[in-house]
Amino acid sequence: MPQGQLTGTRIRERRVRQGMRQADLAAQVGISASYLNLIEHNKRRIGGKLLVAIAHELSVEPAQLTEGAEAALIATLREARAAHSGAGAEQERAEEFAGRFPGWAEVLARSQRRAASLERTVETLTDRLTHDPHLAAALHEVLSTVTAIRSTAAILADTREIEPEWRDRFQRNINEDAARLAESAQSLVTYLDRAGEADGGEAAAPQEELDAFLAQIGWHVPELEDGQADVEALIAGAETLKSAPARALARAWLERYADEAAQLPARDLMRWCEDNAPDPGRVAREFGVSVPVAMRRIASLAADGPAGRIGMVSCDASGTLIFRKPVDGFAVPRFGAACPLWPLFAALSQPMTPIRQVVQQAARDGGRFLCYALALPQGAPDFDALPVLEAHMLIIPLEGGSEAQAAPAREVGVGCRICPRISCDARREPSILADGF
């Protein structure tokens, strides 16, 4: 049922909630009860003065009756239906459900949002346990120390006759290992505590620290747009940049940002985006910059600007992600490898070939994204060495109604570990979702 026809349902719901009889409301606005009945059952369209009059009698804004307060609610209900497609929920009745039972619909929507939030937490933690080299090394250290203690303690307990020098030696070993274990365990707990903090919390690896820093500033640095800011001062004021390697990464990122901002100022780009789609190829031609520079400048625009919120990822020739700017509905793994089906990696296998593709992430909220991907050699050509590639992909959310929204979308994942697409030629490891995690 189209949303525009639901005004009647909302009128009926409001009237009933206020304990008003249909005939009374009809009389107050000067129409017959039977006509109001048709309106309330969405069999007659309503607008103009009659709508204003009914809204007045019901003490609500007319917009609340025509648009409903539940646009976001309905969108979430549709997500819930998509996540449980086998449950038989009628897609066309989502709006009616939200209109007639707003409280229950809100309960369902909150459950859906909670489930999505928990799924993201599981993804993050699983990602970390599977791929975080620091955590793997720390756990290995703990288990090795426990093994040494267990073996040595068993020797002391089980060996009836043991030479005093061996006994002393093993006791010393246990003492040393116990101290080491305490230290390793403390270090591990500290690390996990940090990892468990909110996104703005302390990060562990330099790249993570940089990612946290960029997320904090929204990948946008107004101070660098006018060429006045001091990169060192920005780094010094960033609490998330704890380690020297992270500060070095941030310095390189900010210096490149300043350089590219001078090539293509944000104000010029924003003005251009007011009348044009943020196509990086067109931007590159229009402003005489390279496509990667155009992509980075588009991705660095303020989220409330004309181009909206846009994501971007870059990878080196090994496929390792070296830049992550996620966007709502298109998740980017914090650790480990991303989905091989991303156009980013298709670009890596077809250097110099621009790729434009509409994608949709499996088990996400159903949003579609227009991706622009391109891989180019780094550095100047060298006749004595093969070129080293770097690939970039701009991720642009498609709004409802746009032409590309109707185009077929390629279904991709986030990463194999948390992907529900079990039968996938690109799968490299089992999914925790397949194991009924």
């Binding site: 793997a136 756990l139 290995h140 288990l143 090795s144 120390t145 426990v146 093994t147 040494a148 267990r150 073996s151 040595t152 068993a154 020797i155 089980d158 060996t159 061996w166 030696r169 093993f170 070993n173 040393e176 290992d177 490891e429």
Partner: protein, 122 residues
């Protein structure tokens, strides 16, 4: 002279404990703590069995095992793999590469002795 075992492990106190219990059980024990030249050490020491840790400095135990299985002189050498990771995929990897036995840390001394006795009967 007893059977000869080479323990390739980088944790010194594990080496010491394993060496002690194996020596008491009649084994001749050699030890090595670096993955980089572990294959050369195996070839020069010619043990009856190798206890091989997966995570070693210089080179992983999986790579060492692969090398050993590709060489005719060590293709059939019993190898007991030790690892702190007990996931199925680690076990499958060890089996695929030709490990004779796979043991997860922390293991018991009795389990190690039993495994060695099965792999190299007296």
């Amino acid at each position: 002279m007893g059977k000869h075992v080479l323990v390739i492990e980088d944790e010194p106190n594990i080496i010491e404990a394993i060496s002690f219990i194996l020596s008491r059980d009649g084994w001749t024990v050699d030890t090595h703590s670096n993955g980089h030249d572990a294959v050369d050490v195996v070839l020069s020491k010619t043990p009856d069995l190798v206890i091989l840790d997966v995570m070693l400095p210089g080179r992983s135990g999986y790579d060492i095992l692969t090398d050993l299985r590709e060489r005719p002189e060590t293709a059939g050498l019993p190898v007991l793999m030790l690892t702190a990771r007990g996931q199925n995929k680690d076990r499958e990897m060890a089996e695929r590469l030709g490990a004779s036995r796979f043991m997860t840390k922390p293991f018991s001394n009795a389990d190690v002795l039993e495994a060695l006795r099965e792999l190299v009967p007296a």
